[in-house]
Subunit: 307 residues, 2 copies
């Protein structure tokens, strides 16, 4: 089923304990589209870049079956740029530089050919931009997943709260769940957040896995213990891409199927962190993905029969 992906397509410069990169391609929509492309083939992007963005990467996306009709290319302007340095624990990071560039005035336009999308992934962006996309859709998608971050909770909480009212699934990390709810306990945080609009909440805990909540149930998905996390950039977006990609492929948005989708999302994230940037998400085979998912199955499988 068709998937609409909204988010940044941009440049990053990254430092980790393992090394540093010059400007490389990144952005939420890049990771989401690449990760979801292993599950579904009608993927449409709404985003914006400057005329400095490499056509090579656009061709890579097209090669993975991603439609770029909704990718605005602003002549004479520059693409969004973020630079950051990860600490030794790979969970915390400092932002070294942020250049909004084309993002400052981003006015998303949903092309006519994107209408009637079944699945919508609103990647991390200003809540008002996410809402502008929602308002352009003539038909409500079957499932709307939204990702956001602490930055918008700091500076645009009313707009974020308004946007949350219209979505189905929210994905945030554990500290963001605590900030959004004002609760330290994630169980209490989840119940408060589920009262804000989303029917389902995914709390991403990085190397500690992810929790999936609805009002009655909870599911826990582990993260794969890795020898090295090389670069965590894009892990959350790859997770979201695998998650919604799997749901679009299977056309089943039940809680039971979301459990499976989270495992597939976690598998895609585990690839991403093995190399800098989007590199590891390009050219995977179905066998690679299946083998990785099997590692998750093996990791948590146990057999207890209670009488």
């Amino acid at each position: 089923m068709s998937l609409l992906v909204v988010g940044t397509v941009a440049f990053d410069a990254i430092e980790t304990p393992f090394g540093k990169t010059d400007k490389i391609v990144g952005g939420a929509a890049s990771y989401i589209a690449l990760a979801s492309s292993y599950f579904t083939k009608e993927i449409n992007i709404v985003s914006v870049v400057g005329d400095d963005f490499p056509t090579e990467f656009m061709n890579t996306l097209k090669g993975q079956g991603v439609n770029l009709e909704g990718l605005q290319i602003k002549q004479g302007e520059k693409s969004f740029f973020w630079s950051g340095r990860y600490h030794n624990d790979m969970n915390s990071r400092d932002t070294l530089d942020t250049q909004l560039n084309v993002l400052a005035e981003f006015d998303p336009i949903v092309p006519e050919s994107y209408q009637n999308c079944d699945f919508l992934m609103l990647g991390n962006l200003m809540p008002t931009v996410q809402q502008k996309v929602l308002s352009q859709l003539s038909k409500r998608p079957k499932l709307i997943v939204l990702d956001t971050m602490n930055f918008w909770m700091d500076i645009a909480m009313p707009e974020l709260m308004e946007t949350l009212k219209g979505i189905d699934v929210l994905t945030i990390n554990d500290s963001e769940a605590r900030q959004l709810s004002g609760e330290y306990s994630l169980v209490k945080a989840a119940q408060k957040i589920l009262a804000m609009g989303p029917k389902v909440l995914v709390i991403k805990k990085g190397e500690h896995g992810a929790l999936l909540f609805n009002k009655e149930e909870v599911f826990f998905a582990p993260a794969l213990p890795l020898e090295d996390v090389f670069d965590p950039t894009g892990a959350g977006d790859s997770f979201a891409g695998g998650f919604i990609g799997y749901l679009a492929k299977t056309k089943d948005i039940s809680f039971e199927n979301m459990k499976r989708a989270i495992i597939f999302g976690s598998a895609m994230a585990s690839f991403t962190v093995e190399k800098f940037g989007t590199e590891r998400l390009i050219g995977l085979s179905q066998k690679d993905v299946d083998n990785r998912v099997q590692e998750f199955v093996d990791l948590v499988q146990f057999d207890i029969s209670l009488v």
Copy 2:
């Protein structure tokens, strides 16, 4: 099968964001014995207290089937006392007071009736004391599990390293695994630690669950997402007690059965943190334990069939 438990029987005074206690009963061996008593009935303790220790709690232990012949009661001396304050995250804590008292000169004596024990749980204590117990056993137990902490890595690393050579399973937390191995990655840390003597390593991650490693395999057990963690004191010891108690009950020390044992250990820890001290571990029914274990099963259960 008979289980020998070595560790402190002591007093704690605890402050958490939820309240504070006066002197209450605690100690590694208390938690281990209580938690294991729901699985196996021949439980023998080696420990030491002063004449200030309440007979009421000793009767509680006896009521749970715990043999106290090896519990030395030092007349005119005081029991070990620890006082601490937990931070808001419930993972970090400050030690406010430590009074070694009877522990300063503790010379463990294994009674003749404890010989031929099948399972040995060496709770957190000076590594030399743990070794003294090992050297008194006429027959090597079927399984030796050892718990320790960063404090001994700081002040008695050579003695700890020596003790590790003779054991089967080591249980430590994630920061201790990093300290012991000098590796940040827990996968790398595990391989280094498994080269030090233990055949199996359990890395406890508190609210993030636990990892079980041998040289070839890894298993991940989740922690139950709880509304409130009331008092984390004794969680690790309750975990160890449930773990070794289940192994003693089932008489199966394969890696597959250790996966199950970790789930039962996690269930016992999840009870402990619901109230101050040992309170929650007294008077549970088999049904309570089974229901709690079922919650763990439900939490991580998913069904993925890869073609």
